[in-house]
């Protein structure tokens, strides 16, 4: 009975159904790697923002870093359909790795960032075997539990991590031995932008490859994928490891550019906020993660300046409204609008 309902209901889960309806048919054809004009415009935006808002460079850098973090979640949630409530674990791990290296004399930023990626990636690889075992609820609990464990560990090991006070006293060296991280955040801005853009290009290629398509296949119907010769667990392990690595890079970036690592980088609220940004922007699109992070953080900067308690109420309300009325987030809504326009044109 159970197996039957599952087999029948899994391909028509509301999310996937909504998604197939939203994505124009051409998207489901063979991967097309060509950059669209809109994408190029999108990547010019941060550069425009650099010149238009020179007073907000720190915020813009943080938006790009958190956007990178949201990208990492989009890989497993938006593409492979794996729900994680503890993605901050990898972010925090990367942040503490880069932070501790810088505190103990290894201030070179790029190798520090690589170290953060490697540590988070290895940990993600180990954790992924636990995650692929279970179903949604078990996955939620395992990811959440691992994140809480790390949080508790960082809290207790205050001799190493600074505990509740956070890790400070980082001596981050000059980028390429030449550019010093300044108070205005100019170097931090270009550094974050370059890392984000390079990784984005790689990930964009990844999700449009046959491997990326097989992830979508797993999301839409994991039971059918083995019949195409796909080893579902192995692919999930691979993408989870990649995702953890990217999250580690984001954490490392934040640590290096702010020269501080707080205990909250491992906390549950960070994982939850990450989910919110992603669904706000729209899952399974890569760009949704970046747009969601930007909208979320600008709103947070504005509203929590008024009152932090209200802020939490509004993100709660926003989440409820998105789930009830606006599945697909901002990009999903825009795509729906565009599709509506198109069909009207065709009708006329």
């Amino acid at each position: 009975m159970n197996a039957m309902t599952d087999a029948v209901s899994s391909p028509v889960k509301p999310v996937s159904a909504a998604k197939t309806a939203m994505i124009p048919k051409t998207h489901l054809n063979l991967p097309n790697d060509r950059w669209k004009p809109l994408e190029i415009v999108f990547w010019l935006l941060p550069i425009a923002a650099y010149f238009a808002f020179p007073g907000y460079l720190v915020l813009i850098s943080q938006i790009m870093i958190i956007g990178l973090f949201a990208l990492s979640l989009d890989l497993i949630l938006g593409y492979a359909g794996v729900v994680s409530l503890g993605h901050a674990a990898f972010f925090g791990l990367g942040a503490y790795t880069a932070g501790l290296l810088a505190v103990h004399g290894w201030g070179e930023p790029i190798s520090g960032l690589l170290a953060a990626a490697v540590v988070a990636g290895i940990f993600g690889f180990i954790v992924s075997f636990l995650v692929v075992r279970g179903q949604d609820l078990t996955r939620l609990m395992v990811t959440l539990g691992i994140c809480l464990m790390l949080h508790e560990a960082a809290n207790k090991a205050s001799w190493l991590t600074g505990g509740v006070d956070g890790l400070s006293g980082m001596m981050v060296g000059n980028l390429f031995g030449k550019f010093e991280f300044d108070l205005n955040g100019t170097v931090a801005f270009w550094y974050s932008f370059a890392v984000l853009f390079i990784l984005f290009v790689v990930l964009r290629r990844l999700v449009k490859s046959p491997f990326g398509l097989s992830l979508i296949g797993i999301r839409e119907g994991a039971r059918r994928m083995p019949s195409l010769g796909v080893n579902v667990n192995r692919r999930l392990v691979a993408i989870f490891t990649v995702s953890a690595t990217i999250a580690g890079v984001a954490g490392g970036l934040l640590a290096q550019t702010t020269q501080f690592v707080g205990l909250d980088s491992l906390g549950f609220p960070r994982s939850a906020e990450l989910l919110i940004m992603l669904v706000l922007g729209g899952t399974g699109r890569l760009y949704g993660a970046l747009i969601g992070a930007a909208v979320f953080m600008v709103a947070q900067d504005y509203i929590s300046g008024l009152n932090p308690a209200y802020w939490q109420f509004y993100i709660g309300l926003l989440l409820v409204l998105i789930v009830l009325f606006a599945r697909g987030g901002i990009l999903g809504g825009l795509e729906k609008l565009a599709a509506g326009f198109k069909s009207k044109k065709e009708a006329a």
């Binding site: 009975m1 159970n2 889960k13 509301p14 999310v15 996937s16 949630l77 729900v83 409530l85 636990l130 075992r133 279970g134 179903q135 949604d136 609820l137 078990t138 939620l140 609990m141 395992v142 959440l144 539990g145 691992i146 809480l148 464990m149 508790e152 560990a153 207790k156 549950f268 609220p269 939850a272 989910l275 919110i276 669904v279 308690a309 209200y310 939490q312 109420f313 993100i315 709660g316 309300l317 926003l318 989440l319 409820v320 998105i322 789930v323 009830l324 599945r327």
Partner: protein, 288 residues
Amino acid sequence: MLANFAGVLFDGIAYGSLLFLISVGLSVTMGMMNFINLAHGAFAMLGGYVSVTVLSALGVPFLASLPLAFIASALVGLVLERLLYRRLYKASHLDQVLFSIGLTFMSVAAATYFFGPTQQPVTLPEWLRGQVHVLGLDVGAYRVFLIGVVVLVTIALGLLIERTRFGAQIRASVDNQTASAGLGINVSLVFSLTFALGSGLAGLGGGLGIDVLGLDPSFPIKYMVYFLLVVAVGGAGTIKGPLVAALILGVFDVAGKYYVPEIGAFVIYALMVVLLILFPAGLIRRKA
């Protein structure tokens, strides 16, 4: 050492039975509606605040405040189920998680707005304070009371589910909604009443637990893991599963914090990961 161990065991059981009382409703909603409700702790918090408010503002006696906590949470649960939750029974787990995180955040903000961010004090009546002597052991009177209440509630719940017509309808709906609807059971009404019952029990647990768990606006997030843990480890959709899981977790948590305080909450998370790996479907599986 031995008396010490017995004391820890007793406190663990008291703590575990409280966890069970709050989580049992979550187990039923998860098993029955297949709904991952992260906002369950918010109902417990509501019960706690109702209990504190009627105690201090209206001067209601402690024992009378508990049923009020139950009723308030059950009513709010019923309304929310009818208005919001039922729209998402067929939605993906991700949607349910997001929706209930949203509700949790809203409840935290609302509690901060109305009651302030501080811990709420509770004054227990004279006869529940201090120690009592049970079986050659000095234990907290309130802990004994707590275990007593939970035992009574569990027996009542067992009778309700195993012996009454409504209980049979719940069991039938958990097993197979379509067939139950075909037999003339109003499944949607059963869902609503069960959800209200589960929320009410959480509220009762919240009211009872102020002295043990504390009560402040971060309550639903702080204890969310524990409630989910009980259900995930115990197996959703049963009563026995969460009971066993809650007692195990309660005892291990108290023992961990008592014997190895340096690693504190670590014990329970490690235990959870191990249990979930060994029993991905929960300790006690529901008979289909």
